[in-house]
């Protein structure tokens, strides 16, 4: 199941809540303001790393990263465009955390 997160983790607990419910192997995709979570060097790096370590692939929507001027992202995080988002939805059922 693909989990999408659209909130900045600095202001809102959606990401930390979602992580508690995440099953091993399930991918996480950050979209909209959610993409701030994967900016390199911020304090969510450890949480991102722990998610990756549990075999949960982590993605961020590239157009949303670009819109926010984020070029350096945490190690192991992959980017997708809207077409890649569609591919992930084709591969997985979806759980959009709002």
């Amino acid at each position: 199941m693909l989990h999408t997160i659209n909130k900045s983790p600095f202001e809102n607990n959606t990401f930390t809540t979602c992580v508690r419910f995440l099953q091993p192997g399930d991918p996480v995709l950050f979209i909209e303001d959610g993409v701030y979570a994967v900016q390199a060097g911020n304090r969510f790096g450890a949480l991102i790393a722990s998610v990756l370590k549990k075999n949960n692939p982590v993605y961020a929507l590239k157009p949303d990263l670009d819109a926010r001027g984020i070029s350096a992202i945490a190690e192991g995080v992959k980017t997708v465009d809207y077409a890649g988002f569609v591919d992930l939805v084709e591969e997985h059922q979806i759980n959009s955390w709002l």
Binding site: M1, N13, R20, F21, Q93, N95, W97
Partner: protein, 124 residues
């Protein structure tokens, strides 16, 4: 056989406190309609969503119609799978006795496993 295949597992996830926004209330309206379609419905209460079930809500003072008692009606619509996240409840200093309906209090990992089996998950 083919009829059974048509039954979808749909989970509604209540995540917001009541009254500050309409999401929980309109989410409940959605659940009540979906209940008539004989799908496999469940409702999970996570984070501030657990506050929706708090006893003794009296909304007269804010001039908004209360709806906590509507959760009690879910049983009559055969919506019986009500899951509450244990940690969310405990963090808020609440226990099962504080809630208006009988629920299953579960660990996040357990609710996460059930989420994973769903065809559709809708957050409110």
């Amino acid at each position: 056989m083919s009829e059974e295949q048509d039954i979808k597992k749909i989970m509604h996830v209540m995540r917001r406190a009541p009254h500050g926004s309409i999401y929980t209330y309109e989410g409940l309206e959605m659940i009540l309609i979906m209940a008539a379609y004989e799908q496999d419905l469940s409702v999970a209460f996570i984070g501030d969503g657990v506050y929706a079930l708090k006893k003794d809500q009296d909304t007269a003072g804010i001039g908004i119609k209360g709806f906590s008692k509507t959760f009690m009606a879910l049983d009559g619509y055969d919506v019986e799978k009500l899951y509450v996240d244990k940690q969310s409840l405990e963090e808020r200093g609440l226990t099962e006795d504080d809630l208006v309906v009988d629920v299953e209090v579960m660990d996040a990992s357990e609710i996460g496993r059930l989420m994973n089996e769903q065809d559709v998950v809708i957050h409110h």
